[in-house]
């Protein structure tokens, strides 16, 4: 307890964090592994991923207009934040908790994209992919709904490691995504406090994209920054340019290393911009002008990477064309898969509720079969 002074003053100052070098100052190319700067191969891979995500994302909006899927939540402009952070995940031991807008993360982690996109086809809430195998929790429609899950999962890693928290190369880390809007939810506070009290290996990854549907960040996040909240929990925070994929990869890797070593949680606030509508049902013209949109969005993260790769001679136009062609082929394959995807059988409604079903539920299933399937 802090006694002795009648007025104890305010606020411990947060220890400064070394800057993460991003591509706009200097593109850090090296031959080192995951711990060091990015290699040329990695940078090209990041570009290919971003193109694939961009193309799939914009195509999904077209799918919705064409009636292939009933709705979609685009991530236009957030490709660097998503691909960069997903790129830092070790899918042999980490676990990722997405919202409804992390298609780019899923793609980067290698999740089956037909299974992923099935949620937007209204096939199955949460998606058809296997979350355990893909290390990606089901798609989460409750804003801030899974942030606490990440803390519980992470604490489970601490418990499983017992006293040897740092053997085996360290702990599995939970990476949880949420938005500037979600940061207002009580669950996010509870999650940060729990994680920091328990020193759980969690990386809180906020995509501050400027908007929560129609509400801008300045009417949402008091104080102006989600990262600024971390100090109050004694937790390190990085506020990064979320449109700089190199900065994102490096910040996320740094945060993973911190958490993996048993030092507790880290918060990353990736500053980005939601260039498109909130969802295909949204009409942004009602709450922001095109001028505001252009000003807020700044430079396109994909184009920024392209320019740097060109300038530094890491990739050429042929590479970009190839990447785009691959993205197009991939989208076509996913679209075909989605179009071929039938409805799930109605019996799954009943069969998947429990591990051990109940007589009452079986009776209802029988009744349903009789009345709806006429068997």
């Amino acid at each position: 307890m802090q006694y002795g002074q009648p007025f104890l003053g305010c606020l411990p100052t947060f220890p400064p964090v070394t800057k993460v070098t991003g591509m706009d100052t200097l593109l850090p190319v090296a031959s080192g592994g995951a711990a060091g700067p990015l290699t040329a191969d990695e940078l090209r891979e990041l570009y290919s991923l971003m193109v694939a995500v961009r193309h799939l994302d914009t195509s999904a909006i077209a799918w919705q207009r064409q009636g292939i899927i009933p709705g979609y939540a685009p991530e236009l402009g957030q490709e660097a934040a998503q691909v960069g952070s997903g790129y830092a995940v070790d899918t042999t031991r980490d676990f990722v908790f997405p919202t409804y807008r992390e298609m780019g993360v899923a793609r980067t982690m290698g999740v089956d994209m037909v299974a992923y996109m099935s949620t937007h086809k209204a096939t199955w809430h949460g998606g058809l992919y296997n979350p355990l195998e893909s290390r990606l929790a089901p798609i989460q429609a409750v804003v801030a709904g899974s942030v606490l899950h990440a803390v519980g999962w992470a604490h489970g890693q601490t418990l499983a490691a017992g006293s040897d928290a740092t053997t085996d190369g360290g702990l599995g880390v939970a990476l949880t995504y949420f938005g500037d809007g979600a940061s207002s939810q009580g669950d996010v506070h509870e999650a940060m406090n729990f994680a920091a009290v328990m020193k759980a290996p969690v990386v809180f990854f906020v995509q501050n994209n400027g908007w929560a549907i129609s509400v801008p960040t300045e009417r949402q996040v008091a104080g102006g920054s989600v990262a600024a909240r971390a100090a109050g929990y004694g937790m390190p925070a990085l506020q990064i340019d979320g449109d700089d994929v190199v900065a994102v990869v490096e910040a996320t890797r740094r945060a993973f290393a911190h958490a993996r070593a048993g030092n507790g949680p880290v918060l990353i606030e990736a500053m980005t911009y939601r260039r498109g509508p909130h969802s295909t049902a949204d009409d942004p013209g009602r709450y922001r002008s095109l001028d505001e949109e252009r000003d807020g969005a700044g430079a396109d993260p994909l184009e920024r990477l392209r320019q740097r790769l060109l300038a530094d001679g890491i990739a050429d136009e042929a590479f970009f064309a190839e990447a785009l062609a691959a993205a197009k082929a991939e989208e076509e394959q996913i679209r075909t898969g989605i179009q071929a995807l039938g409805s799930r059988p109605g019996t799954e409604m009943f069969d998947l509720v429990f591990q051990e079903t109940t007589p009452a539920l079986q009776a209802q299933a029988a009744n349903w079969r009789e009345e709806s399937e006429h068997v």
Binding site: P70, H125, A141, G181, S214, V215, F350, E371
Partner: protein, 348 residues
């Protein structure tokens, strides 16, 4: 019987003969918007707020234009936190305001349940009447629009069980206009459950004459069986009654309207006449409001009932994704099967 009847039958529910002069045709969205506009104009203490309620006018446009007309002090956006919205409502009510908060979708009322149950519903009681809670909580409710998870829930059984709350749900634009105007001028908390699948259906609204805002309402008279429903299921039951009439079966359709307090008298009156009843709701069967309705009917009509009250409801499963929605929500077939069971019931 085929489900294809479903698609064409929406209109039937909202037309009526002998239109008085004060009647206008509008959608439920328009009727609700109009009601809120008038409430704001009539009561300077009324304030509307929630996620995206202000500038955007709500994701369903129910509050469309109200901020522009009544100002940012009367109609405003809040941060994204439902407990915050409802907890703030308590304080505003204590300060003499009439808050009309919105929860964006049914499933997002859960984060606010603590404030609703432990605070809003009890503050009048706790304070011995000194701190009334004239809070009208609008909740776009129920399913049927192929929406994402948590956007198609039916919370009426939960709300109806909470002492200190009143709960109402309109079934058409006319009801929507009058019930909202009534609810939003009451001194007690009212949960106003809007059937979102009916927002864009048009119907005649008699602005001048709403009839009594209390209790249930017979939407169609009949003598062979009573169908009890609320929200979006009323229109579906009216379609069913239409179909059954072709076979000479005259079904009475009772729009329960108030889910708390339930109009036990209206249930008794109808079933004493028809001697048979089926209650229909979207919520899961077990511990749903259908059990309460059935038990109220059984209690008052035990001697006259020809068959046990039947329940046609959603199943005891999480509300499914769009592809399976029509399997989950009571459809015409399933309601007709329920009716058949009751009509064919033989003692012994």
């Amino acid at each position: 019987m085929s489900n294809s009847i479903l698609e064409s039958a929406n209109a039937a529910a909202s037309t009526s003969a002998g239109t008085p002069a004060s009647t206008t045709v509008m959608s439920m969205q328009q009727a609700l918007n109009r009601a809120l506009d008038e409430v704001l104009a009539e009561n300077p203490k009324a304030v509307i707020f929630g996620e995206d309620c202000g500038r955007l006018g709500g994701v369903f446009r129910i509050t469309d234009g109200l901020q522009a007309k009544h100002g940012e002090q009367r109609v405003f956006d809040t941060p994204l936190a439902e407990s915050g919205i409802l907890g703030m409502s308590v304080g505003l009510a204590m300060a003499g305001f009439h808050p009309i908060p919105e929860v964006q979708f049914d499933g997002f009322a859960y984060p606010a349940i603590n404030q609703i149950v432990c605070q809003i519903a009890r503050m009048n009681y706790r304070s011995r009447g000194a701190l009334p809670m004239p809070i009208t909580l609008r909740v776009p409710s129920f399913g049927g629009i192929r929406a994402p998870e948590h956007h198609g829930e039916s919370l009426e059984a939960l709300f109806a069980h909470v002492p200190g709350l009143k709960v109402v749900s309109p079934s058409n634009p006319h009801e929507a206009y009058h019930l909202l105007k009534h609810a939003a001028t009451r001194p007690d908390p009212v949960i106003f459950m809007e059937p979102k699948s009916r927002y864009w259906q048009k119907g005649e609204v008699d602005m001048a004459d709403g009839g009594t805002p209390e209790g249930a309402k017979v939407m169609r008279e009949g003598r062979h069986l009573t169908l009890v429903a609320w929200g979006a299921m009323v229109a579906r039951c009216l379609q069913v009654a239409e179909l059954a009439a072709e076979d000479g079966i005259e079904i009475e359709v009772l729009d329960l309207r108030w889910l708390k307090p339930i109009d036990a008298g209206a249930l008794a009156a109808s079933v004493r006449k028809t001697r048979r009843a089926v209650v229909v709701h979207e919520a899961p069967l077990t511990s749903g409001l259908g059990a309460e309705v059935a038990q109220l009917i059984t209690q008052s009509c035990f001697d006259t009932l020809k068959a046990p009250v039947e329940r046609v409801t959603g199943f005891d499963v999480p509300y499914p994704s769009g592809d399976l929605e029509d399997e989950y929500i009571p459809n015409i077939d399933r309601i007709l099967f329920g009716i058949q069971r009751v009509l064919e019931y033989k003692r012994g």
